[in-house]
């Protein structure tokens, strides 16, 4: 799982999209030959193919199917960025945290996620005190178990109820444009 992060001059950063095994990081170069304005950081380890830019562009120009797959995925990234912009402005931090935890579980396929408050505060673009408050609330209501640097999901259904619509909206969009064989093999059939 790769996080696409937008980094401000002050060093503050926020996640604007997540790329999983169904996608490509760095595909922006196909649009204008330049690097994307985001920083890509691997959050959860996994294997991936790497291709030099020149070779990538050569195939992009030569193959219609490659070109349309890349374009389609750039659309997925744009979709996520648009959804995130609205989500950050409108939804509560608790709902956004639930969304993020669900995504992490989808990608890692485990209910035990190694996460510090610091890390979550960067992903959500909020202060650590907000992360602390929300994690505490979710723990009190039995949805998660939170210990230093580790979050265990106890009630996925409860988290889904508390997450903002952005979780299912993004999931459904990706499911509609990426063929199932290119998505994760997780039993949940989730695509990040």
């Amino acid at each position: 799982m790769v996080s696409m992060l937008t980094v401000m001059k002050s060093g503050e950063l926020i996640e604007t999209a997540i790329v999983g095994r169904e996608g490509v990081a760095g595909g922006w170069v196909a649009i204008d030959g330049r690097n994307a304005n985001t920083q890509s950081t691997v959050q959860v380890e996994g294997s991936a193919w790497q291709i030099p830019t020149a070779k990538f562009l050569e195939i992009y120009k030569a193959s219609d199917s490659f070109q349309s797959a890349i374009n389609l995925y750039q659309g997925v990234i744009l979709f996520q960025a648009q959804q995130s912009a609205a989500c950050h402005a409108i939804h509560s931090i608790e709902a956004r945290m639930c969304r993020w935890l669900l995504l992490s579980q989808d990608v890692t396929g485990t209910d035990q996620i190694p996460l510090t408050q610091e890390f979550l505060s960067h992903m959500l673009g909020v202060q650590r005190s907000s992360v602390s408050l929300c994690a505490h609330t979710l723990q009190k209501t039995g949805l998660i178990e939170y210990a230093r640097g580790k979050i265990k999901i106890r009630d996925r259904k409860g988290l889904e109820e508390c997450a903002c619509e952005c979780y299912s909206v993004t999931r459904e969009y990706i499911a509609s444009v990426i063929p199932p064989e290119r998505r994760t093999d997780s039993p949940r059939g989730v695509v990040f």
């Binding site: 509560s92 931090i93 608790e94 709902a95 408050q117 610091e118 909020v126 202060q127 650590r128 005190s129 907000s130 602390s132 408050l133 929300c134 505490h136 609330t137 209501t141």
Partner: protein, 80 residues
Amino acid sequence: MPNYYFHLENGQILLDDTGVELRDIAAAQIQALRASSELFKAGPRATATLWNGTPWRMWVIDKPNGEGKTFFTLRFSAAM
């Protein structure tokens, strides 16, 4: 640069064990206002204690464990 720790009490004490390195107290004040205003965007369940009559405070000190020199305190309460 000194370290500032932003602790929170909302019926329960949530200690900040990491802290933030900031230039001076003015920077810490900006940070505290930003952090506390954000707390109220946490969601209805997280902010329930405020409406149940529990006053909240964010206090900023130079130590991670809740002891130490207090730089300043912000208090929030709701009157019904």
